[in-house]
């Protein structure tokens, strides 16, 4: 193993690292003095400073986007299959596909930052987004517990900072602190679980663990290890009862940060969780069937799923802030996605991955619209959305697509995603053993239609409370952002009408 080859195989990550450093440097050299100027001098002279800071911000965003594009190219150049250091870096069609998806999500997140006024040090913010992206790529591309943990920490630390980035907003600080406290506690759990598993199996490679588990009987200590590891991931995907950070983080964090937490972090976590349980813990799958429960991790995940679906949907009914509503609905969607992992197998895993990917795309878009409305009206309560359809029909239409996709209405991606997931779950166990979970999930999505429709009711039916400020300027500020949002809406529609584009890719990439 030469370093050159290592560099070649890790080139996408390396490119993103370099981009992050370049962006940081640009931010430091050009943005800092401009930002300093605006702070130290009073309003009159602040104009020139803010213009140069805008220019530096645009430059940073451009470099970041360019770096991500190159990284996608690098992913495409990777060999089909490779394994380094006992699974620390694994390249398969699946990992390559999901690296691209993570990069694309980061790409759209960066587009959302372009007109976010609250982010003062743009260069640093973008650099942190890129670091988080590296975390995602490491997570996706590893089948070894230590490396996964490093990826988790890199991702987690970046996200904490991103959540707390708006120093002028108390809520942002609260979001960051809550996210950090819960996150570090759950990391401790995960690390503890991993150490137990390592102690029992003597290895940290997922494949090796699986081989060990297949021969040895399951001891209580190992069960504790498995459950603790799952707890850490349940936190990352915001499954109840480990979701308590989500509402505050979604509501308080700057909009792009919230979008990234809700999308990229979730996708990567599901990929890794799927790998850990389906590869590493495969011999202790157990069964969550109604009359045939067998101990293993799948009953644990099934219980998490059931609880998340019920709690997420019921609590979302009572929300009056759109971001909080999205947070609770995220809990419910984590529950649905877990169904795919409970089902297991190629079908279940690919259904879960399809669902979480389309969900991530939808949420980035939805947060984009939230950012737009926040810009326009200064808030993101449901009442701020009243009359959006007369102010900006385009944004209203996009939001309709996002909300209806989340509710699972055809012909949008969410509908097919649900069909795929529930079918995989039903097919997995003999004599419809998982029907109870599927029925529960369907009941949950029935409840969810109500609150998604309430959002649309505010947008389309209710009249605007009072004439807002200058909408024109908002629209012109937001050209880049609105086109990114429309692109995402088009993607949601396209993935609903022709789900094969993604579903076949994922299925073909499955080992």
């Amino acid at each position: 193993m030469s370093y050159l080859e290592l560099l070649k195989l890790a080139s996408p990550e390396a490119i993103v690292v370099i981009t992050a450093l370049v962006v940081l440097t640009i931010g430091l050299t050009t943005g800092r003095e401009a930002a300093g100027a605006t702070v130290s001098t009073a309003r009159p002279t602040g104009n020139a400073g803010s213009r140069s800071s805008t220019r530096s911000a645009a430059l940073c965003a451009f470099v970041a986007v360019l770096g991500l594009a190159v990284a996608i190219g690098a992913v495409l150049m990777l060999p089909r299959n490779a394994t380094l250091f006992g699974g620390m870096l694994v390249i398969t069609p699946l990992t390559s596909l999901f690296k691209i998806i993570c990069i694309v999500l980061a790409f759209f997140t960066i587009l959302l930052t372009t007109s976010e006024k609250s982010l003062r040090h743009r260069g640093e913010y973008l650099a942190i987004v890129l670091l988080a992206t590296i975390g995602l790529m490491l997570l996706v591309g590893s089948e070894e517990l230590l490396m996964i943990f490093i990826g988790l920490e890199l991702l987690g630390l970046s996200l904490y900072v991103m959540a707390a980035f708006d120093k002028t907003d108390l809520r942002s600080a609260e979001a960051g602190l809550k996210y950090f406290l819960f996150g570090s506690t759950s990391s401790a759990f995960t690390l503890f679980g991993i150490s137990l598993i390592y102690g029992m199996s003597g290895t940290t490679g997922l494949a090796a663990i699986s081989a060990k588990l297949a021969t040895a009987s399951v001891q209580p200590l190992l069960a504790v290890g498995i459950v603790m590891t799952l707890v850490g991931f349940a936190f990352k995907i915001a499954a109840a009862p480990f979701h308590l950070w989500a509402p505050d983080a979604y509501q308080g964090a700057p909009v792009p940060s919230a979008a990234f937490i809700a999308s990229g972090s979730k996708v990567a976590s599901f990929v890794v969780l799927g790998k850990i349980v389906l590869i590493g813990f495969a011999p202790v799958h157990g069964s969550a069937a109604w009359h045939g429960m067998v101990a293993g991790w799948s009953p644990v995940l099934a219980a998490l799923a059931a609880f998340s679906i019920l709690l997420g949907n019921l609590v979302a009914l009572a929300q009056s802030n759109l971001r909080r509503l999205l947070a609770y609905s995220a809990v419910a969607h984590a529950g649905y996605t877990l169904l795919g992992l409970v089902a297991g197998g190629r079908d279940g895993f690919s259904a879960a991955l399809f669902y979480t990917t389309t969900y991530a795309i939808t949420l980035v878009g939805a947060f984009g619209v939230v950012g737009f409305v926040r810009h326009e009206t200064g808030g993101d309560d449901l009442s701020n959305f009243s009359g959006l359809c007369s102010r900006s029909p385009l944004m209203a239409g996009c939001m309709a697509i996002f909300m209806l996709s989340l509710a699972g209405i055809p012909p949008l991606a969410g509908f097919f995603g649900k069909f795929y997931l529930f079918r995989a779950a039903l097919q997995a166990s003999p004599s419809h053993g998982l029907l109870w979970l599927v029925a529960l999930a369907l009941f949950g999505s029935f409840i969810s239609l109500y609150y998604y429709l309430m959002v649309l009711k505010f947008i389309f039916v209710d009249k605007q409370a009072e004439a807002g400020a200058d909408h024109r300027s908002v629209m012109t500020d937001y050209v880049l952002q609105t086109s990114a949002i429309s692109l995402l809406a088009a993607a949601v529609l396209l993935l609903g009408v022709m789900p094969d584009i993604l579903a076949a890719q994922i299925l073909a990439a499955m080992p």
């Binding site: 209806l404 209405i409 509908f415 079918r423 029925a439 029935f446 429709l453 649309l456 389309f460 039916v461």
Partner: protein, 497 residues
């Protein structure tokens, strides 16, 4: 070729999003006329023998990961439903001719509903059918919540949640059929032998899930509130076509896939259907809002459809399909009179208030239309309602003689409330006479004089509907010849006996 009904309607809806509003109603009209023309062309051109089985029109692979095909097919039953969709759609657009508020959006949602209905009636793949079925739900919400009248947000949400509640059960039933049968193709699934144990619970899950949309008692309460809250076009579409989606899918999917389950449950369906007929008619007798009267009459008439399906013989089921057609036309006509011709001009639907207006003098054409519609609704020979209901009752006589007796009593109630509504709305006592009438006019609507006459668009729409009910009433063979062979080919008859 008939597959293009779906495509042009979707294309029309998309066009509406991008074109300025002066084109809106013309695009909607052209699109719906195109749909009707395609339906009629298929009706004329397709040989009757080809309509006896569910013959494939289009079949292309769609989602290879799950083996889902984009598969459309046509038989006599679906052709009948496509026709009634076309007729209702054209007249609906004509009756919405002077919608002013957010015109493009209005016709966009309206065309989405129509396109979804075409899709359901032509789908031969369970996934596709369900996708179209669910696609219809949300546009209805917007049609009612944005453009409706009385208590619109409540009515819209209630209707949507009821539909989705039924859809939840349908989803379970479809998944079970798919996972057990291993395919989503309706024709293949209709050959598959499901275990009787499975059928006994999968059938009711699927059938009652669909039947929510058909307004089965006791899950019918969304229908009157929804119809009353909806704009005229919304109620016409809802009562005219959307309710039929439920009964059509119940026949095409639930009964056809699970024949043994159907046998076990057919009696319960018949009981619920008869209760629905009598109960809804009795409730309609006591309503003071004209739209509620018609809303409950829809539930009552849909009870006939369900009773026909429950008979499990060719006559009864064919009668049910004919009743779907007939009620689609009649309900559209009734709602057009109540919602457009009367409400638009008087701004009230209270029967007591209308009784004092002596509308038969003010709006003679509306009175004429309403008389025809009422006659068809009561089941006077010569109109489609009579043929359909008599066929259902003959079929039911073989299966459930008792049900026929009770239904017969129910029909008296239907006649009673229809005549009551007719008398109060158009032929009420004029009270203190013309002077009061004029006062009433001015107070109710400042533009009364401009709006007094029935517009040409309304006349054309009403004539289209009246023509349809008369033709089928006088010469039912036209449809029955195509429906009956298709019904005979369905599986539940063979294994039922």
């Amino acid at each position: 070729m008939i597959a293009w009904t779906i495509y042009i309607t979707f294309a029309g809806a998309l066009l509406l999003l991008f074109l300025p509003r002066i084109f809106a109603r013309w695009i909607a009209l052209l699109t719906t006329i195109g749909g009707l023309a395609l339906g009629l062309a298929a009706f004329v051109c397709t040989p009757i023998a080809d309509l006896a089985h569910f013959a494939t029109i289009v079949r292309v692979p769609w989602v290879s990961a799950l083996g889902i095909d984009y598969h459309l097919a046509l038989d006599g039953v679906s052709l009948t439903m496509v026709l009634v969709t076309g007729i209702s759609a054209v007249s609906t657009v004509l009756f919405s001719w002077d919608v002013e508020n957010r015109q493009n959006e209005f016709f966009f949602w309206l065309l989405l509903v129509v396109a979804g209905c075409y899709g359901v009636f032509l789908s031969a793949n369970l996934f596709l059918l369900f996708a179209f079925y669910e696609l219809v739900i949300v546009p209805k919400y917007f049609l009612i919540a944005i453009f409706g009248s009385t208590n619109k947000e409540y009515g819209a949400m209630k209707l949507t949640l009821y539909s989705f509640f039924g859809g939840m059960f349908v989803f379970i039933g479809i998944l079970v059929a798919y996972v057990t049968g291993g395919t989503l193709d309706l024709n293949q699934l209709a050959q598959f032998q499901f275990a009787p144990g499975l059928q006994s619970w999968a059938f009711p899950v699927l059938f009652f899930g669909f039947a929510v949309l058909a307004g089965i008692w006791p899950l019918h309460t969304w229908a009157p509130t929804g119809h009353a809250a909806a704009p005229t076009a919304g109620s016409m579409l809802l009562a005219g076509i959307v309710m039929k989606l439920g009964s059509y899918a119940g026949l095409r999917v639930a009964m056809n896939l699970f024949p043994q389950g159907f046998q076990m449950w057919s009696k319960s369906i018949a009981v619920l259907a008869v209760i629905g007929i009598v109960y809804a008619a009795a409730v309609a007798l006591r309503q003071s809002d004209l739209k509620f009267v018609i809303g409950y009459s829809s539930v009552s008439h849909m009870g006939f459809v369900l009773l026909g399906l429950a008979t499990a013989n060719v006559l009864g089921v064919s009668g049910a399909v004919l009743q779907m057609f007939s009620h689609g036309v009649i309900a559209a006509l009734l709602f057009a009179v109540a919602g457009r011709m009367i409400y638009h001009r008087t701004h009230t639907r209270e029967l007591d208030a209308l009784a004092g207006m002596n509308l038969s003098h003010a709006l003679p054409f509306a009175a004429f239309t309403f008389v025809i519609a009422a006659a068809a609704s009561i089941g006077i020979p010569g109109f489609s309602g009579f043929v359909a209901e008599i066929t259902i009752l003959i079929g039911a006589w073989k299966a459930y003689p008792l049900a026929v007796w009770i239904t017969g009593a129910g029909m008296v109630l239907v006649a009673a409330f229809t005549l009551r509504a007719l008398k109060q709305s158009f032929f009420g006592e004029a009270g203190s006479g013309v002077v009061r009438l004029q006062e009433g006019r001015v107070a109710l609507d400042p533009d009364w004089n401009e709006q007094q006459s029935i517009t040409a668009a309304e006349k054309i729409g009403a004539c289209l509907l009246m023509f349809a009910t008369l033709v089928v009433g006088v010469y039912p063979k036209l449809l029955l010849d195509r429906i009956m062979p298709a019904v005979e080919a369905m599986r539940f008859l063979k294994s039922g006996g």
